[in-house]
Structures are given as structure tokens and as C-alpha cells.
Homo-oligomer: 223 residues x 2
Amino acid sequence: MPPRHFPHPGVASSLPDSVAEAIRQKLIHGELCAGQRLSEAQLAEQLDVSRNTLREAFRILSKEGLVHHAPNRGVSVVIPSIADIIDIYRIRRLIECQALAQSWPRHPAHKRMRQAVEQARQARAAGDWLQVGSANMAFHGAIVALADSERLSAMFSDIAAELRLAFGLLNDPEYLHAPYVDQNAHLLQLFEDGRIAEAAVELENYLVQSERMVLAVYARRVE
Amino acid sequence: MPPRHFPHPGVASSLPDSVAEAIRQKLIHGELCAGQRLSEAQLAEQLDVSRNTLREAFRILSKEGLVHHAPNRGVSVVIPSIADIIDIYRIRRLIECQALAQSWPRHPAHKRMRQAVEQARQARAAGDWLQVGSANMAFHGAIVALADSERLSAMFSDIAAELRLAFGLLNDPEYLHAPYVDQNAHLLQLFEDGRIAEAAVELENYLVQSERMVLAVYARRVE
DNA sequence: ACTACGCGGATTGTTGAGCAATCCGCATGC
DNA sequence: GCATGCGGATTGCTCAACAATCCGCGTAGT
């Protein structure tokens, strides 16, 4: 029996999968904005697929929470609400902190953490804040991977994408991402030194702080 | 702005949603067995929908982990592996115990817990073990609901469905479900008495025990 | 002027047919 | 026994069509 494969961003076997991935990329790169209506006919032509295929992609994205499907009104990009942000950060604290606290010290995922930190540094040096955001999410994805759970990682991946969508609503990527590059590095340092408990506590603070900042910027934006 | 709605088993706005729900029900009721191939043409005719609509439903179920999509080979019902069982129980312990431990004592979800216990008792009295299984999952869903997180609840719902799929592979529903009716009731009692910490500990033991039993039956079944 | 109504265009929801690509079972041949 | 290759069946995807629904807008009525 072949190992189960959870269809995941990045791998695209079928056309609807790659269409979904293409739309995800458009979301990350700001080509599609939160709240925007996604016309089936228009988007199908733009991506050069049939409406039916696009519809399958919409089902996927809808289940991921990136897109909202209103009966007879089609799909539009989700606008994460304050409640959504709070929800997401609550889950992140629950999952990431547990994953880190219970982690096996020399877990293979620590390589991914290192890579992400390195990538974030390079991207920051290049001023590519989108890339910094990706690297940051990769870092936290690696933390979740410490828990060795496919399903948890899959869920985190969805949540991370939704959070990036929220970040896209804000307009100061440097302010939003820059501080966390060094914090991630420090977290990694603690982890590699085997100071797991300290790392978990720091991660918790980190997440509380991050949530607070996002909510603050978010609230100001509503004006 | 209308509140976000996470498309959930039970509510079906569009046709693909209700087709997905119909298939879920078939899975629960054993009309479709794990590993079974789902022919598009055949199932489409049986459910009286078009192949395209069925395909949309497949995408949903695939994201839920109930169905596996192999390129050019169509979809088949997932066969949960031992690793999947372990994964699921790991997540259950992580999520349910946290949700219970951090719960606000008089949280509205406790009504759902009461209802589920009552329903389980009635179903047990009637010898309807499928219903007992549903009530048991409803009880644990209510525990997760204590965390007040849409996303967590949605994820748990998916996981619970997958677990029921695994239960379907086993053939002794009474042995599988009967012991937990009273344990749930006891858990509820502790919760309502405000003995949250005790309840959380008991839940953890409960889940470890449950996992052990399922894995044991599972391993025996492989012969 | 303001609301209620209703019309018409545009979009979605769903279907059915059609066709290329791929897989699977099976017979053939070595 | 094993590789080869053929043919039917299935999947992957597209296209076109049509009913149902929504939305904007003009009209009528007060």
C-alpha cells in the first residue's frame, strides 16, 4: 500500500490542484485581494481552464478557508475578521507551543527550522518581505512538524495561508515581518541547545506579541 | 458582512455539498467500505447527479481525508492505517485535553455534552451502536467546542469522521463503544462539578485507553 | 422626491456529451 | 515463466447548453 499523501500546497498532481495552487500564489502575491469577487468565467479564461475545473479548485480553496462560497453568488476571497485572527492565534499557541514543548530534541525537522531562518535572513537582506513572510511561515511549519503529525501539519498549512491573507490586508510588510527574523533565530538557538522549556515559553510570548501587533494594525486599518 | 460559515457535515447548501454528505452517511452506515473503489459513472448514477458534480464532492471529501484520490485511478475510500490511528489519537489528546483544561466552567457547550450523553444512553438501551458512536463523537465534539474555535472544531469534525471510518473496519461495535458511555457521563459530572483539572487528566487516560484498544483490535484484524 | 415593483442582463448551478490519456486485464509470443 | 502489446473501461478535462438566481436600473405610483 502506498503511503497516504495529503494533497498539499506545492505539489499538484491534477489540474484542479494546480489551479488551486495558482490561486493561492495570486493571493500571497497580492494579485488577488481579500474581499474580491472571483468570477468563474473570467478566472477560468485567465487561467486557461474550464469552468468545471475551476469549480473543483474552488471547492478545495473553500475547505482551506481561503475563499468563501455564497450560494448563487459565487466565490470571493475571504476577508479575515478580527475574530478569525484571534481564532488563528489561539490555535497557533495551542499547537505550536505543545509541539515545541513535547519535541524530541534532535528531531529531523530542526533542519527545516535552520533553513527557514537562513532564508528569512537572506530575504530580509534583499528587502523581499514577501519572501520573509514565506520563510517565517516555513519556520513555524517546521515547529509544528516537530509533533510528527501529518494532519496537524496540514491544518497548520491552511491556517498559515489564511493568516498571510490577513497580512496582505495590511500594508506595512517590513514592520510586520522584520522583527521576527531574529526572534526565530533565537528560538532555534534555544531549541538546539536543548532548552526546550525555555523555548516553549518564549514561543508563547512571541505569539501573544505577534497577535497583539496584528490586531492593533488591523484595528487601525478599519477606519 | 454575514458571519463566516464553515461548510460542515449536516448543512448542505449546494448540491455537491449534499452529495458529499450523502457519501459521508454511506460511509458511517457501512454502505461503503474502506478501500472500496468509487466509480464516478456508477456513483453518479446511483446518487442521480452528474459526474462533474460528483467530482466536486470528491474534492471536498478528499480534503477531509475520507477518500483518496489517485491520479488516473479515481477515488477510493481511505483505509486508515495504524499510523493514521496513532496520528489521530495524538491530535485528539492534544486538542481535547487542552480544550477541557482551559475551559470556562459554565461554557454553553456543556449542554451539547449533556445531550450527547443522554443520546448515547438511549441508543445503548436500544442497542443501536451506530447511534452510540455518533453520540460519542458528538460528546467529544462538544469538548472541543469548549475551546471556542471554529477552526479547531472543523478540524475535529474531519478527524472524527475518519476515525469512524476506522471503526467501521472493526466488527464489534458494542465492544468498541459500550464502555465509553459511562465514562463520558463521568467526565461530564466532573466538568459540571468544576473539577476541571481532574476531568482533563481523566480524559487523557480515557483517550490513551481508547487508542490502545482500537490499535489492539486493529492489529488482530490484519491477520 | 422617494419607495416599490419589475424587467433584463449577467452570473451561477448543474447537466450531458464528447474525446484524449491512462490504466488494467488478458491473450499472445518468446 | 515472463515480457509485449492490444482493447475495453475509466478517468481527466473541456465545451456548450439551460434553468435558477441575483443585481442594477428604469418606471410607475404616491
